[in-house]
Assembly symmetry: C2
Homo-oligomer: 402 residues x 2
């Protein structure tokens, strides 16, 4: 019998209880023993809820109970999640989390503490919600040098971009609609400015490199400056705009960035729409593979946490190696990253000026939007592009091409 405590009875935490109870048969079969929820830690009481008798307000009840072998941390945020997780691991209890902020900030330290105490710190739900990506990376693509990961890892921004594309609506109206439907938070900054995606690619990059990529060091652009006109240019190019989180192993280090990109039909990321997420992994032997599914949602995320509970139960008393050290990964810096760009300029800008700066355009788009034209550059480093773009007269915006 494996007894579990759930820290935080919010959306994901209550989902964890629901998955364990509704799928009791399959969860217990796969864990090799019955899995039950003994405690739920929350500041609130939940009178009338089936778990009302299992609610505790003091984490020490959980930490001091030798029957508890696995703790699900579904609180979110750094504190008190960090302290509680650390104490649980020090007490030899495995911790399974959906908390990407904590994993991005303290992942390797918590993995090390888990190793020192023969237990596990698992975090499948921290990236891609219900998409199995962490376990495939560390347990299935094990014969591969992973050279690149690029993905759509934030459902809110993908929903907004999909709506803007389908309905030709502008950013502000679409954000408002997403907020009304519950797909965007009232304070949407973490999603729309790319901070959520940045945490996830920092975690994935750390697993790629075996060392630590700090999310604060990832070059990040959000989608708040994307306009209806950008969407029209994308359509004209038979492409679609996606907020991509990318990490690429190069000779000078890892190139890691989050930014809107124009994605063409040849990419399997092209049709990934709405709140769905997808993560492409390129291995040196395997070539491309892709993992697709619901990037968020109560039960999808909870299912990933419970899969970790099962893995922790199967490996009770034994640490499963996850190669992620506290040493920092060498980053290449954004300056050397090469991309092609779509650039929009005012009609007044002479095409000779464009050609002089960027060479002959790969594509020229005229008469699509009044008063301006667009062109596509060849592949050019970020540093070179930025230098030239800053001197370009009548510049109205630019988006990278995947």
């Amino acid at each position: 019998m494996s007894k579990v405590a759930v820290l935080g009875y919010g959306t994901v935490g209550s989902g964890v209880v629901e998955v364990i109870e509704k799928n009791q048969d399959i969860v217990s079969r796969n864990a090799g023993e019955a899995v039950t929820v003994k405690y739920v830690l929350d500041l609130r009481d939940f009178p009338g809820d089936p778990i009302q008798d299992r609610v505790v307000h003091d984490v020490n009840v959980i930490l001091e109970d030798p029957e508890i072998s696995v703790v699900c941390e579904t609180m979110g945020g750094n504190e008190p999640a960090y302290t509680f997780s650390k104490k649980a691991l020090e007490a030899g209890k495995s911790v399974c989390t959906s908390n990407k902020e904590l994993v991005a900030n303290h992942g390797p330290e918590l993995i090390r503490i888990a190793k020192e105490h023969n237990c596990n710190y698992f975090f499948e739900a921290s990236v891609g919600g219900g998409i199995p990506i962490i376990r495939p990376l560390i347990e299935a693509l094990t014969a591969e040098h992973v050279m690149e990961i690029s993905g759509i890892v934030n459902g809110t921004t993908n929903y907004i971009l999909t709506k803007m594309t389908e309905e030709g609506a502008d950013f502000d109206a679409t954000l408002k609609d997403a907020q009304e439907k519950g797909y965007a938070e009232r304070n949407p900054e973490a999603d729309i400015e790319g901070y959520d995606a940045r945490r996830k690619i920092a975690i994935l990059s750390s697993l790629m490199s075996g060392k630590t990529v700090k999310d604060g060091e990832v070059y990040t652009e959000g989608i708040s400056k994307i306009t209806g006109e950008d969407i029209r240019y994308a359509a004209e190019l038979h492409k679609t705009i996606k907020l991509l989180a990318r990490s690429k192993q190069t000779e000078s280090g890892y190139e890691v960035m989050v930014a809107p990109f124009l994605v063409g039909k040849e990419s399997p990321l092209f049709p990934v729409s709405g709140v769905f997420n997808a993560i492409m992994v390129e291995g040196n032997m395997l070539g491309q593979s892709m993992f697709y599914g619901q990037g968020a949602g109560k039960l999808a995320t909870a299912s990933a946490v419970v899969a970790d509970v099962i893995e922790a139960t199967k490996n009770a008393g034994k640490h499963v190696d996850i190669f992620w050290s506290e040493e920092e990964t060498k980053l290449a810096g954004v300056d050397s990253v090469k991309n092609a760009f779509l650039v929009r300029v005012k009609n007044e800008t002479p095409q000779e000026e464009v050609t002089k700066l960027f060479g002959e355009p790969e594509v020229l788009i005229e008469n699509l939007v009044e008063g301006e034209y667009g062109f596509v550059t060849g592949s050019i480093s970020e540093a070179e592009f930025t230098g030239k773009y800053e001197t370009l007269s009548g510049a109205m915006g630019r988006i990278r091409m995947m």
Copy 2:
């Protein structure tokens, strides 16, 4: 130090040696110890090949060498692969295979023998080539009741259907082209008649149900009757034709079938083209997730075998449970399966006859192909449809809609 023997130095076997040697560092890190190839079993010699001194012709050298802990069976076919695998497992050596025929025919027996001898029978490469699907199913989607799996699991047929769609070519010419390019075998029956896909969905259905689905009992239609006209109807409906392998859990048992389907743009399977494969998994908590990648190819398939070698090495002396018993899964039979159909009939057939048999068509397509018209039925059971279709005058073909 984990010493490995490779049975069969063909495409996949030589790929296994290549992956282990080229990715020695990451393979050994993930396995927890150095992994090296000690023997290659083949009837032939390979003078000048780096493995020439490791070639043996007698399997007993491998079976009797206590240093060999893992055997990669990349021979294909039932015999002698079955006998060699069984003897290796009985000697306590784990077996990792890419042989879908053997897994479909003897999987649960070999898993049982592995359990009895504290070793493992792993078969990630038997379905989806390089796409991680078996391990995600048994180690990541563990909190899920898997309700349905549908996928494009054969690269040859997907290549042919993609070419027919893109170039408007007919089946025979496209098959010939695929054979010339090495994407189809000289004897293409196993691929084009759906037998390869049927084995793979039998394996996946067995893992879904925990019991055995025999591939011979799967209702199977191939793609050899698909015509250029069918492709034109598909395009008119904004759909594409894919050979799908499907398995669905229903109250009356598992519905398992392989057949061409019309797939719409709303499905993530729609853009999966060429030799790529993709497998959608629907869980009762997670909803849909999809796994996409190269379904075949030397290094992609070999990478999956080597990932199994790593897992077997990590779990040396310990059997990892795979729930697949020799008991047979209850199948629902194809008669009760419900689908909508696109039907093509001669212009001479009165529309009243169509309406009388199938009700008012959902869609009517006239004047697309000379001398005929097409219509789409509502959802109808296979048995009812077949009964009616057989009485329909001027019937020219039908395809199921996903």
